[in-house]
Subunit: 524 residues, 3 copies
């Protein structure tokens, strides 16, 4: 088995680790690289030669253009592969895609290649390991990206998104919901006992979007094409959830929205990216956008728009908003005037939170929502009865400021009365859906009081599940559609008012069926 | 606050209204305009200069290219911004996009700009107001568009679509359904009392597609960037529903399908436009199209087709139908022979109505369906028992004529036997789904007879809601898929036969549960 | 009626049938053809002239470019219309799109036109008939396509797909499910009696994807534009289901994925093609792909990829997989090395079957699954209790071989540890969803034991239907999403874990309601 033998040779090299590059390894890698490119793809080779690649990145490319060529080809589409930070910093303030005031010297003159990212801040990375003579990290984190993008990283780190793991898993109420939804039940006689979900299923469901906790627990052997190698043993990996807890202790992942090695702003600006997580029935951003007039215009004409230009010019580069237009992009008017600054704190332009537990409420002040305590003593922004935990939420003046801010974007195409009419409708909808949730809450509360269902776990019995659907599915959907100016059929019938009302009827009937059944049993 | 001051200056100008243009205002607007363009975008400015803009439109553009630039940029993509009616009328009959035989003199030599549309028929517009010295209407209506497009306007005004508000809201049966679905319920002890929906929620749901009643109720002050202005106080605004009742008394809105200020035929011809309203679960045109072979071909190759050419050449401009191919576009064969005339009466090519209340039936003769009375005395085209109100519906010979008409389109790609086989299947499906609706009607009728549910409102209790889903969701979906040649999985499992049958079982069980519960209660 | 008269003339010609071409007919057809093209479209005429058309195909085009021009235009986009088999065979092995070692002489020098395909193997075709002097088949089958594509045809014929009709309709268990789901029920007093579905409804639902049985039952007259003609009377036609039983006795249809007359590999490679049948809720391949990161990248950037090149170059022609990348295309690395051979046996790269009845299990050895018998004596790969019928299923070593095979594709972009982590998650998910199915099976089994529901037909009562949804809808959806690396929100809430658990609760409650109702009845 020649592969195994080569593997053993690599292993011996690992026995003699060195902080400096092994000249032998670099030589071997570069040989493979140029051998590869000579016979294969001159164009890439030219790209490599003309660009300023670090010698380490050349070594990476030497092997990986053979062993995982898709990554390399993807990276070649990126700006990272074509620009050095020095050149990137020369752009005018609005055109700049890099926010650092200064860049570590070794990075300034080379394009942003494999090694530049995967070797950052090695000391803090549990997942740092010796790979073919190079100390690299498996996982690149916001803390690494911040080397060149500190403003974006800081905004993101202050957002709910970057804390999506913590906000879900460290909140005991949410955690109960998570466990109830995703745990495997085994029927035990007639009882359906509670269960804890497995890590794999959490990674596949909630934590697929919220992010997992990735830790390096020692190392392990791995058989690859060139033999056995030793790699960090990562828990809950792979995962690209937006609030991932990383092996360097940081939170979040940039590749949730800037996928893989192209890092294209174009992809992040298209609605498909957001729709990976914001989908029906609970957060149907994509579904209502698709049915809206904005979504129609995007679907019909979007292929002719420019999703790459920075700053993004309203009316010129795009004719209707995608998610990122309203939520985070830097926008300018056709004459170049700034309409809205860029933000990677995705809640920062929002005043009302449409899909919290259980009622709508003003946006929380902090991205960390585990700190909230309401009057029921629960870590929720609103009580079951509907009272907001106001001290943790932004005040009226901040709400108005933010509504005015987002109105500036609408105003790019719509007049002031139109915008006012739109947000008045959203206000009404928020209020009415909250009332419909309150109605369902009254029913489930009576079921608890009468002993028809057991409140110990408020999420695991049928009537409780109907109550959850009232807020998590139907009310959320209606509010989304209202906020995003469209999808009337969605809010009427798909996951909206039809179900809000049908669900109330079914809750009432189901309670009576259970009561009748219980009486029947008592008689036995 | 300099803006406020400028606002006051405008206000003073308003005190001295004039039917003639205020030279001062025009001067100011044009100054802003050219100042704007000089420093900003030469290209647009050239477009403006080379085109024949009315002086009023130049004034509009002067401000709005600064204050709502997205509208202006959108308009610049339109044919309206590039062609005068005189030039448009010189085209050959099939290529013409304008159907007027003569155009008012002041419109012939200028491109169709802001003022040309927003100043039409001012006398009839409740929403006409003095805006910076110009009398303009907020809302442009089919009655205004008819200046140049009288044939299209007339066809549209005869269609069910243009009467979508009236047909829904002025039909007491439908109205009860609307109110039941969208009203806010408050739990009052154990009862769920009836409720009337708010105007905002109606605008967000049913009337989002059907259109609202927009009326000007006096005026109001509005704070905008340049200060306070006075504008008409419009009810139920904004709204782009296809059957909107307008403040000039006309019905319908063209921008439901020709959105905003680009008016692109390309967008109207793409299925995303129709899908804004024709979506699952009740009218799933988009959903079944997407799953059909036609939809597959469109999704795979549509970006290479020509959606702008008039007439639209089958096999050349497009290779598979979108909604508009079958329902309303002017189609020619590759050799130029007319396959089908254009129609903006969207029912005019259809013989059977697949989603009426409650059973399928021949298309109604009139676009106004509130005039229908069936043998039960209800304003519905079919009785609850399944008998059609034939005198209001087209007869067999008209049905056959229309089927032959639409078959001509199919025949562009499919042979006569294929088409015959397709429509035979549709006939069978229509009949069978009607039978499945009748089965559900029998169950709900028994529930009414036995007092299990209360017929006063036939739409508000659980078994009634199941009955509604049988026709409104499941049967409709199956018929749509059948008519549109596809989506077998949709009709089997998504919203089709699976649910038709499961729903019957659940209705039966639910009735028995309710009966048992009632007996249990009686004993108490 | 001149058409009728012409029709009579044709008919008389039919009275004197001939195996040789009628020179008169050819002359007439060509006259029409060139007359047509002279005045209409020179470009097509040039194409026709420069290409090597058989005289028969020229005759077909002569009429059909007038009578069904869409087909002709579609064919003109195909490689078939531009290449002779001789030229196609000269390509290098990897670039070849034709797998025959030799081609019948009459086909080698002409492009692949109407007659070349529609006249193949006439003797075996029940649907062969005399059409304007030519013996042609209505239906072109895999047995005909195999003339030039024998390797693809043979692979396909060994697959479950080509036997999709048989596997569904000749398996008594599945057949019961089919009949129960799609039969029309008439309420008869209080009973909902069993019913058999109509052929039309089967064609519209299950057999829309699985394929119908198309037989020629004599002939029939058909009125067409040029008069009456006589054509074969085909049953269950039109239909393009992938496992269609054809009138030449063969199984399957190539146009299920290579639609109509363009036969574009581009369309077959795009996910919309697979999504015609693989859609939610039972086989939601499209739905989870759309929500996955792979789907996001495809939706965002796919219009810039090359879907036509053969072989298909990973990282160059495409940057993220579509269905066909993983399931059947010939893939090469950027340097030209083969990553994966082409296969038209769509199960051949798969080791685990995610949507069999009822539990997951290893892929069956044979494409014909009707031969399977499990320990319950049922033709299912697993017993109701969960035991696989292992002798009919591939063994562990074959499973590992296939997993390694598909891992090679993943490895184009992902490292070995990433892939390992991904498939470990899939394993866990498969196991857990099987456990959740077992829980539901226990509940339905108790309902059967206690006489709450009747096992005679295990698919037609409410609790049984809930049980079906547990495996057919919810578990399948979760497994699909797991296999396809994404759609966390889908597996959590859309059709996944939320419903797996809610459904168990509702089954339990429903059983108790039925029990209580039965007792109440007994007392009457």
């Amino acid at each position: 088995m020649p592969f195994r033998i080569v593997g053993m040779a690599w292993k011996e090299l690992f026995m003699n680790p060195s902080k400096f590059l092994s000249p032998l390894l670099v030589f071997m890698a570069l040989s493979i690289f140029f051998l590869n490119t000579t016979f294969a793809e001159e164009k890439d080779a030219d790209t490599f030669r003309n660009n300023s690649l670090s010698t380490q990145t050349q070594a990476c490319l030497g092997c990986h253009s053979r062993y995982t060529p898709g990554i390399v080809k993807d990276w070649l589409t990126s700006r990272h592969s074509k620009t050095t930070p020095t050149v990137a910093m020369e752009k005018s303030p609005l055109e700049k895609r890099i926010s650092a005031e200064s860049i570590p010297g070794e990075l300034t003159k080379v394009v942003v290649g494999c090694y530049e990212c995967h070797s950052r801040n090695a000391a803090g990375h549990q997942d740092n390991f010796d790979h073919m003579g190079f100390r690299i990290n498996v996982v690149v984190t916001p803390n690494d990206c911040k080397t060149c993008h500190p403003v974006e990283a800081a905004q993101f780190l202050g957002s709910k998104k970057s804390m999506a793991y913590k906000n879900l898993m460290d909140n005991p109420v949410y955690r109960t919901l998570v466990d109830t939804v995703t745990g495997v039940r085994k029927i035990d006689n007639k009882v359906i006992p509670a269960a804890k979900p497995s890590e794999d299923t959490l990674r596949e469901t909630c934590l697929g979007c919220h992010g997992t906790r990735v830790e390096a627990k020692g190392t392990k052997n791995l058989s690859v094409k060139i033999g056995d190698i030793v790699v960090p043993a990562l828990t809950n990996w792979p995962n690209q959830g937006v609030g991932r807890v990383n092996p360097d202790g940081s939170s979040g992942t940039c590749s949730a929205c800037h996928p893989r090695h192209g890092f294209l702003i174009e992809i992040a600006r298209k609605p498909y990216t957001c729709s990976q997580c914001h989908h029906e029935p609970d957060v149907p951003a994509w579904d209502v956008y698709e049915e809206s007039k904005h979504g129609n215009i995007y679907s019909s004409k979007g292929t002719t728009w420019d999703f790459n230009s920075v700053p993004w010019k309203l009316g010129v580069d795009f004719k209707a908003p995608t998610c990122s237009v309203c939520h985070n992009s830097l926008l300018v008017a056709p004459d170049g005037a700034v309409i809205m600054e860029r933000s990677h704190n995705f809640g920062s332009r929002l005043w009302v939170r449409l899909f919290g537990l259980i009622y709508s409420h003003p946006q929380p002040k902090s991205g960390d929502t585990t700190i909230i305590k309401n009057k029921d003593g629960l870590p929720l922004p609103v009580t079951f009865g509907g009272e907001p935990a106001s001290e943790y939420l932004i005040d009226m003046s901040e709400q108005e400021k933010r509504r005015d801010m987002i109105s500036r974007i609408c105003n790019g195409c719509h007049n002031a009365d139109w915008i006012r009419g739109h947000f008045a409708k959203l206000n009404s909808t928020t209020k009415e859906t909250d009332e419909m949730i309150l109605a369902a809450t009254k029913l489930v509360s009576r079921a608890w009081e009468k002993g028809i269902e057991d409140k110990t776990n408020p999420f695991d019995e049928s009537i409780e599940q109907m109550w959850i659907r009232q807020w998590l599915f139907y009310s959320n959907s209606i509010r989304y559609a209202s906020a995003m100016t469209g999808a009337p059929d969605y809010t009427a019938f798909k996951n909206g008012w039809w179900y809000l009302n049908e669900n109330l009827q079914q809750m009432k009937d189901w309670m009576e069926f259970k009561k009748a059944k219980n009486k029947e049993k008592e008689k036995d």
